[in-house]
Point group: D3
Chain length 149, copies 6
Amino acid sequence: MVYLTRRYRLSAAHRLHNDSLSQEENARLYGKCNNPRGHGHDYAFEVRVAGEVDRRTGMLMDLAVLDGLVERKILNRFDHMHLNLDVENFRTKVPTTENLCIEIYDLLLPYFSPACPGPDAVRLDGVRVEETRSNFFEYRGQNNSRERI
Amino acid sequence: MVYLTRRYRLSAAHRLHNDSLSQEENARLYGKCNNPRGHGHDYAFEVRVAGEVDRRTGMLMDLAVLDGLVERKILNRFDHMHLNLDVENFRTKVPTTENLCIEIYDLLLPYFSPACPGPDAVRLDGVRVEETRSNFFEYRGQNNSRERI
Amino acid sequence: MVYLTRRYRLSAAHRLHNDSLSQEENARLYGKCNNPRGHGHDYAFEVRVAGEVDRRTGMLMDLAVLDGLVERKILNRFDHMHLNLDVENFRTKVPTTENLCIEIYDLLLPYFSPACPGPDAVRLDGVRVEETRSNFFEYRGQNNSRERI
Amino acid sequence: MVYLTRRYRLSAAHRLHNDSLSQEENARLYGKCNNPRGHGHDYAFEVRVAGEVDRRTGMLMDLAVLDGLVERKILNRFDHMHLNLDVENFRTKVPTTENLCIEIYDLLLPYFSPACPGPDAVRLDGVRVEETRSNFFEYRGQNNSRERI
Amino acid sequence: MVYLTRRYRLSAAHRLHNDSLSQEENARLYGKCNNPRGHGHDYAFEVRVAGEVDRRTGMLMDLAVLDGLVERKILNRFDHMHLNLDVENFRTKVPTTENLCIEIYDLLLPYFSPACPGPDAVRLDGVRVEETRSNFFEYRGQNNSRERI
Amino acid sequence: MVYLTRRYRLSAAHRLHNDSLSQEENARLYGKCNNPRGHGHDYAFEVRVAGEVDRRTGMLMDLAVLDGLVERKILNRFDHMHLNLDVENFRTKVPTTENLCIEIYDLLLPYFSPACPGPDAVRLDGVRVEETRSNFFEYRGQNNSRERI
């Protein structure tokens, strides 16, 4: 079993705000991240997969396949977008980095099931999103919730 | 003469778009940075000042003074803002990183003139803004335009 | 379950020396780190916590609470100090990075117990201290000692 | 139980090519990494060990012992070499980063067995190789294959 | 005048060796970099250009033009190659990082002359190549040789 | 003319304090850096030299010569020391990073004079010291004080 971690970047605008909370509560909770017109970030995120090395190729998986999957499912959806305004899933969910991390994991997971033709020999092990250079979030799915990241 | 470079960060949303150009020209020129609702970045920027070391303190200048100046003049204006919508100067100027770099320099310059009480023994030598990890812009003012950055 | 890793820095002087060993043994064991007057480092350390995302806020925990805890319990005690001379716990214990790592973990752990009002929904998952850019230490507590970091 | 991660670097040339595949398949599989005369990389790799802190020294292990082991067993074999032409094990195995990672782990493992006089109180926990700044591989041995890295 | 620095990467194999020197002198001069079969590096290099910001676009130059130029003139020639064996200019010149730096500058310079249609409003200000994380080389051309980089 | 920048590290303890100032003034000026027992830092510093590439070797200078010079003149004096207590020159001068930067430059300069046998074909172009990841100081000598760093 070898683990491959691949790093990507996306740039997006967002605003932290929950309509069901009062303006005072939003301001206290999110501080300047609650600024009405939004602000933005360059997020780095890592996708980690696990599997056996193919004896013939010496590789865990074809990186072009992983890159294509991330391009179609993640970057096309989030990169250079305003998360609150352009992304369906963040109409009702606050686009915190925690939720972005879970979202990326959940969007990639189906493509790692055994029924999928793509990178099917490897499993999705976790997703990590860097909010800033001092703040990282990781998610490994519901079944993995008791194991260590 | 010693040079001090101090590094700051700001997070902002922006949209690259020029109203005086056609939609096709905007799309060709700015690509996905032209996305109507805006996207965002974490900008790192460096302020470089030059001066003599104070024999008594062994320091070029009091960093708290520089930090206070940058806080009041730059961060309060740009950090966690939507550059096009929240910042007066970017209503008419496209908020590219080139223009942001010149803007930061021009906003700081008056406070380094001999008439200013603050950090008056040092001069502003240049401003550098990192757009991404692979893209940097530097500006040293109009009088310095022939010298090397 | 989501994991949050937050990064802090502290600058301190220290000397590696064990009074119960001979001068020769101290010199052999610690090399130039045994220099009598001490030397110093800028340590980066990471605190990792784990918990569920709060549906209302979209956040694992309020970072200001974590920062306040680290400020009061860790930075006020170690930052800009001489570890051997200023810190009670390092009068008898050699201030190696291994021991500093365990010390930070042990100082933070009580505030993550269920009885504590602060960040009580999350648990302390581990502490990692970077001695240099090529040397890292991690500790996850006594109960976690058989699990993987 | 404390974990120590130590980081090393090696520079090497290699060519990704499998003689048992057709030229077309090699080209498709390895792209420009299949260039006949080889190209090269600066690999960073991390060795992670786990053990108890020695109460007398405050240290997990003597770093000079670990550095000596890595020097003799890894760097002398791979650093400033052409992996395909200079290294016995890569005559038959394609020198991908996956295989390099497993190779480093397997070469170090014997020296962490209980019977070995060297760093015998600590166990080898894993090896991680960075292919580029966006690509990392980790291996933890056959017995650890079900645990998380 | 604004300066733009753009960062690229290339991976290559090379061998430091001068046929006109004795084997002993080559060994003494280049150490393990003289290993007959070659070794390799991941070079990062930066291209710095200078010019006026276009008032209409807010940009110094179209990055796609610069990227295309670097792709055609530099990356296609050096990336994933064996410098000594695949590159004409290094048949007679030792492929040190100093020479690679000058080579990249000289290959790009013609495209920044006034007669050239491409990025003709900007001038090439300098090229910097990182050999390792601790070693950088910069070249600014023959006419600039007395000015500071 | 090619420029070579080489990066080194040193770890030291220091205390910012000027005996000729009152305790209140010291406290106000240096804040927690005035802590009586000292604290410490890992300083990174860069030495930049300039010269012509030797046609025979393809190199600006022998790095082993530069490393040896820095080892003897800088590291042996400052590394793993308490700057105020172990270093003659900092008995009377406050060991700020500004003063450390000038000190390193002045200590290296004599070895780059034409009369010196060592690295005599190259000149010392500047020294840069990183205090933290956000704070850098540069010095280029008295004669260079009007030129740009």
